[in-house]
Structures are given as structure tokens and as C-alpha cells.
Symmetry: C2
Subunit: 299 residues, 2 copies
């Protein structure tokens, strides 16, 4: 089954202790789509400016990504600049220029409206809700968010969560949204807002899945060098939703496997800047690391 994603396509400038890139391809929907495209066809809804380099469009077309939903608007593309210290867990934002993204009204093309698997990448919860209204009968809706929306659009986000099946967020966001330091209690609180599953990403400590009746703990892949953590969360979500769409059914067993595939994709993504590692990734690489996750957790 194919997969619909709404999010950002951006040009990122990133510096880490291991190097830097200027105006490289980035954005939540970009990382998500490229990652998911290893598993299924992705239909991308986003906006870029007239300055968006055509080579990036050509690259996205070489992947399994349908670009009918990518609007090109007058103005400049969304730009983000950030840097990381040796503790690569937190990005320091230098600037965020929303540009064409500031007036973005997501328009779902008619032929996307019957999509069954939908991912709402991190954007304004009102826009996420607006997109959901345009999709006729989604079978599985997953979404992401961030501290900014938790702090500034809490009500809207909680309202949205009633219509979401799987909510993916990181540990700090979970604690903030649930107003609870304990992750297990926090997850229960978030489940009470509506989703039937919540996935809490813990960076180098892996990810946790909580539902009403069970929990699952996925490790992170031990890496010697993380070159650039930008997009790791979206790449995780892409592998996760990509696998689920291909499997066709979000039962617990598939969701657990999907979390491992998400972790595999994220672990590769951080090995290079921008989408460089995903560009040269193969299905064989993905299978290899999936088997390594098995060995890593087997007892």
C-alpha cells in the first residue's frame, strides 16, 4: 500500500564537530519520504520556493516518490540553519526562515484523497488537522510534533490526537505533553488523549512503544561516530510507516518490526550529512542491519 506524507521540504545548513553542509536538501517530509521509499510508494505533500534546486527534484523523482503534491510557490524555500556540539543530542538553531512555508495551505490532490496510510510530519497541528479532513477514510494515521506546538498549540494538538492512531515523539516532548517525568505514566496519559499507540524516541537509548495492553523496548544501534543527527526522527518515522504500509496492517507484531526498521533507517541516516547516506543505501544494507538488531537483542 502507498503512503501519504505532509511536512516540510527545506534547505538545511548544518555544522557538527565532524563537518558541515550549506543549503543541503532537508525537511521533515524529505527525510521521511526518502526513508519510506525503500519500502513503498510515497505521495508527498509540501511546498518549496522557485529557488528550489532542480537537482533535488530530480533526485526525489529517482526515488519511489510521487511529487504531484509538491507545490512550487513564488518566493524562497524554507531554510534552517543549526549546529551541534559533541553531545549530538540537541541542535542549536541559528535561524529558521519559513519563507514560502509561512503561508502554506496544504492541498491534497484528488488522487491522494483515498490514501489509507497517512503520516503528519511535524507542522502546525491546525495544518495537520486540515490535511486529515481532506483524506476520506484513512486506515492508519500517525503523527509527529515538537515542543513548540506542545507549548503554543497544546489544545489544538490534543484535539488532533483524538484522530491519530500512532503518535511518535521524543522523550522530552512526551514528558512535556504529559506533564509527567516518568515515561510510563506519561505514555499512559498520552494514550488517554486518543492514540492507540505512542512511540517515544530516546535517541542513543532507542525507542519505546506503549499501547493499552503492552510495551516494547527497541535498542539503538551502537554507532562509533554520528556525523549529523539532523532528520533522524523523520527518517525513523519513514522506515516505520514505510514498513507498515508495505505490510498493510498495523497489528502489534508489525508495529514492533516497523520500529526496528525505523531504527535501522535512522541509524544509517546519522552516518553522513543531509540525505547523503540514504542516497547510497541499498535494500541489502537495510536487511543486514535489521539482522544485526536481532542479534543485538537476542537472549
Amino acid at each position: 500500500m502507498s503512503l501519504l506524507v505532509i511536512g516540510s521540504v527545506a534547505l538545511d545548513s548544518v555544522a557538527t564537530p565532524f563537518g558541515s553542509v550549506e543549503e543541503a536538501l532537508g525537511g521533515s517530509a524529505t527525510y521521511f519520504s526518502c526513508s519510506a521509499s525503500f519500502f513503498t510508494t510515497v505521495k508527498l505533500v509540501a511546498v518549496v520556493g522557485e529557488d528550489f534546486p532542480s537537482r533535488h527534484i530530480r533526485f526525489l523523482k529517482t526515488r519511489n516518490i510521487d511529487l504531484k503534491g509538491l507545490q512550487v510557490r513564488k518566493g524562497r524555500t524554507f531554510r534552517w540553519k543549526g549546529s551541534y556540539e559533541y553531545d549530538l543530542n540537541e541542535a542549536k538553531t541559528v535561524y529558521t526562515h519559513l519563507n514560502v512555508f509561512s503561508n502554506f495551505k496544504p492541498h491534497i490532490p484528488e488522487e491522494y484523497k483515498d490514501e489509507k496510510f497517512v503520516f503528519l510530519a511535524n507542522i502546525d497541528p491546525d495544518l495537520q488537522a486540515d490535511v486529515l479532513k481532506q483524506v476520506r477514510k484513512p486506515a492508519l494515521v500517525a503523527c509527529d510534533s515538537m515542543n513548540f506546538w506542545i507549548e503554543n498549540k497544546r489544545k489544538e494538538l490534543i484535539r488532533l490526537l483524538k484522530k491519530v492512531d500512532i503518535f511518535i515523539l521524543n522523550d522530552a516532548e512526551a514528558r512535556e505533553l504529559a506533564e509527567e517525568p516518568n515515561l510510563l505514566k506519561g505514555a499512559k496519559r498520552i494514550l488517554s488523549f486518543g492514540p492507540r499507540m505512542v512511540i517515544i524516541k530516546k535517541g542513543e537509548h532507542g525507542a519505546l512503544l506503549f499501547s493499552d495492553h503492552s510495551s516494547f523496548s527497541a535498542p539503538a544501534y551502537p554507532l562509533e561516530s554520528i556525523y549529523d543527527p539532523t532528520g533522524a526522527g523523520d527518517t525513523f518515522a519513514g522506515g516505520f510507516m514505510g514498513y507498515l504500509s508495505r505490510a498493510g496492517k498495523a497489528n502489534e507484531s508489525n508495529v514492533r518490526k516497523a520500529i526496528i526498521y525505523g531504527s535501522v533507517m535512522a541509524s544509517y541516516n546519522v552516518e553522513d550529512f543531509s540525505l547523503n547516506r540514504l542516497r547510497r543505501l541499498t535494500l541489502k544494507d537495510i536487511d543486514k542491519r535489521y539482522r544485526e538488531f536481532k542479534k543485538l537483542t537476542c537472549f
Copy 2:
């Protein structure tokens, strides 16, 4: 097979946001022994003062713990007082009174000298080395340490590690000892000091095992409430070494299972103050949570 442990027996005063205890039974060798005694017979080498309550001796005797190596010396028992904030990861020490422990010369009783499984709980690396000299032909030596010794007896600790098979420490200690922020690189550095396996405990994020040829990631058991983290590391080591001694062989498969048993024991221990949870723990409880760890990691 039985198991020899050298470490501290103490009286702990602990306060957490959930309650407090005064002069409760504590000490690294105490937590270790009680935890390991669910799996095998433990031979305890330690020292207490004349003021050590006889009810604690009676309790230890009800467990599978041989106390011939427990010296009673003139003076007061080792006392520690500490407190934890809501983030229960770090103890704030109020005082440490070494008392009889300050002149402790570990004397291994003749009938302990042929023990095959040895655990050197966290004490001065010189004392740990001294104990090792007294044991004739140990088959498996594991040890623990702490930041104080890494900072103040680095050379002695590294010298000791040449004779140690499995080194157990926490993530901050691993980073400090290896002088390396990345845990995978740090583990490789520590392996180069001598041990054939290193286990890095990450508290609420589980534990990692590294050897020359493989790695293993164990999750932490998700708990809603941690009442008192005191002794969690020693309880982990007790379950770990207890299971290995019972299994009789420290191959990789057994070591992985042993890490899960260690995690099970530690997860119970933090559910109450002092050794209170271990006092009422049953083998059935242990098996139940071991199976829950299986479910928690299965994909």
C-alpha cells in the same frame, strides 16, 4: 557453583521523594549477596562493627549466604547517608563514615580459596587485587568500581583489570575511565585494558554488553514508580553473577541471560527501600518478570 563476593556491609540512611529510612541494612556486598542468593550459595567477605544489629545477621543467615567471611571488628559499622531528588539517577551523599571499613584487610577463609566465581564489589582496587591474590584458581572474575577510584587510583584499577574477565560499570564511569564520550569506542578502550567483556549500566535506559566480537542491548523494565535506587547496581551484579554461577559457564548466551536476570533483580529492588523488596521476593516473581523482559524485546 557457589560464588564469592567481597564488598561492604553498611547501615544506610536514605531519603527520596517517596519516603526515607534510617540506618537500614545496606552495602554493596549485602545487596549483591541477597540478590545472588536466589540463584546460588554466596560466600560473603566483609566487615561490620560491634554495633551491627543481630537481626541483620539473622536475616542474612535466612538467605543462602555463608557468613564465615564476615568479620566483626571493634568499632562502628560503615554508615552512608544520601538523598535523591525526583530525578532518581544521582544520589547526593550527606555523609560517608567508613568506620571499621577504613582499616579493612580482607581475609579470605581457607575454605573460600578454591571458589571459582568471584565478584569484587566496589572497594579500593588495591583491596580488590589483594583478594584476588588469595583466591587460588578463579574461573570467572567480575568487578565493579566507581568514579572515586577512577579518579584517584586509575593506575591500580587498570592494573587490576588485566586479571578481570567481566567489568561492570555505569555509563558515566565508562566515559570517564575510557576518556571517550562515545560508549562503543569507550567500551573498546576498556576491553583493551584486559577484560573480555564489559557491561555498561545505563539506569532507566538498560544495559549494554560489549565483547571483542559482539554487543548486546538489554532494556530496563518500565516502572511507574522508583522508590529507592540505592543498591540497584549491586543487585544487578548479584542477579548477573548468581545466574552465571548457577549456569556454571560464562559463554555469551549465558552472559546475555544473566544480564536479563540482573535487570530483573534490580527492577524489583528499586520498588522499595533498603532490601525490603528482596526480602519478600519469590522465585516465581523472578521468572514472571524474566518472561516480561522477553515480551518487552521480542520482534
